[in-house]
């Protein structure tokens, strides 16, 4: 009689575990901060090469909304010799403001997440991003210049 109860309980546990495996509530099992970050980086480069830098600001807005929608945290720091008209670019904030005076020293205190020190000279055209994508249990940080 006792072992019959054990058998019944085992069957119920197996059924419950099977349901959990088959009907996993997360929207996409294998999406991760690395992939989301590469998505951002590749598309910024694509826009610059094929569509024109004026659309970069617009894309960052769409990307921020998209990452909110999939429950990811996304933030970036951007420095550029173009005026990209990114919303966060106000007063003392260096986010994609237009730099034109000789040279500009970038250090890690400016980039927040990225451990980079370098000097950008005027007038070549450059756009640099340091971005941070994070989910509840992992994150991805990267720095790139176009």
């Amino acid at each position: 009689m006792k072992s019959q109860y054990i058998l019944l309980a085992t069957i119920i546990i197996i059924i419950i575990l099977s349901f959990i495996t088959y009907y996993n509530p997360s929207p996409i099992d294998n999406i991760n901060p690395n992939l989301v970050g590469k998505n951002f980086e590749d598309q910024i480069i694509y826009i610059y090469k094929n569509l024109g830098y004026i659309y970069i600001s617009n894309y960052t807005l769409y990307f921020q909304n998209y990452t909110k929608y999939i429950n990811y945290n996304f933030s970036f720091i951007c420095i550029s010799s173009y005026n990209l008209s990114i919303q966060e670019c106000t007063r003392n904030n260096i986010n994609c403001c237009y730099y034109f005076n000789g040279y500009f020293i970038v250090n890690k205190s400016i980039l927040k997440y990225c451990n980079e020190n370098f000097i950008l000279y005027n007038p070549p055209d450059w756009i640099c991003f340091c971005y941070n994508v994070s989910s509840s249990n992992s994150y991805y940080i990267n720095f790139f210049c176009i």
Binding site: S3, L7, T21, P27, I28, L51, Y59, Y66, I70
Partner: protein, 106 residues
């Protein structure tokens, strides 16, 4: 004697069920390998449903239009509700700026 037989049967069935459970669990995750999808090759998928290799959904962010393509034909979104999304990407556009989200189902 009878209770011994029941216990042996129980142990046997638990072992079989555990193996079955582990097999389905891992085979499921191996099939959904996201790195098999290359975003550069998938940029040509568009809302005209002219690709018959994939089940995909395109959400156009400019006009919020949603298009669902099932192996080359346009279908209603309820048609693919039993499929799972395996790849997701936010494209900026193809020839001009027209951002859209691509979701591939399997």
């Amino acid at each position: 004697m009878r209770s011994w037989i029941i216990l042996v049967e129980l142990a046997f069935s638990i072992t079989i069920l555990t193996f079955f459970f582990l097999y389905t669990y891992y085979s499921k995750y191996n099939n959904y390998n996201i790195y098999t999808f290359d975003p550069n090759n998938l940029i040509y998928l568009n809302s005209s449903c002219n690709n018959n290799l994939y089940i995909y959904e395109i959400i156009n962010l400019t006009n919020n239009n949603i298009t669902v393509c099932y192996f080359g034909k346009q279908v209603n979104s309820t048609y693919i509700q039993n499929y799972k999304p395996v790849f997701e990407y936010l494209y900026a556009g193809q020839d001009y700026f027209d951002p859209y989200i691509l979701i591939i189902f399997k």
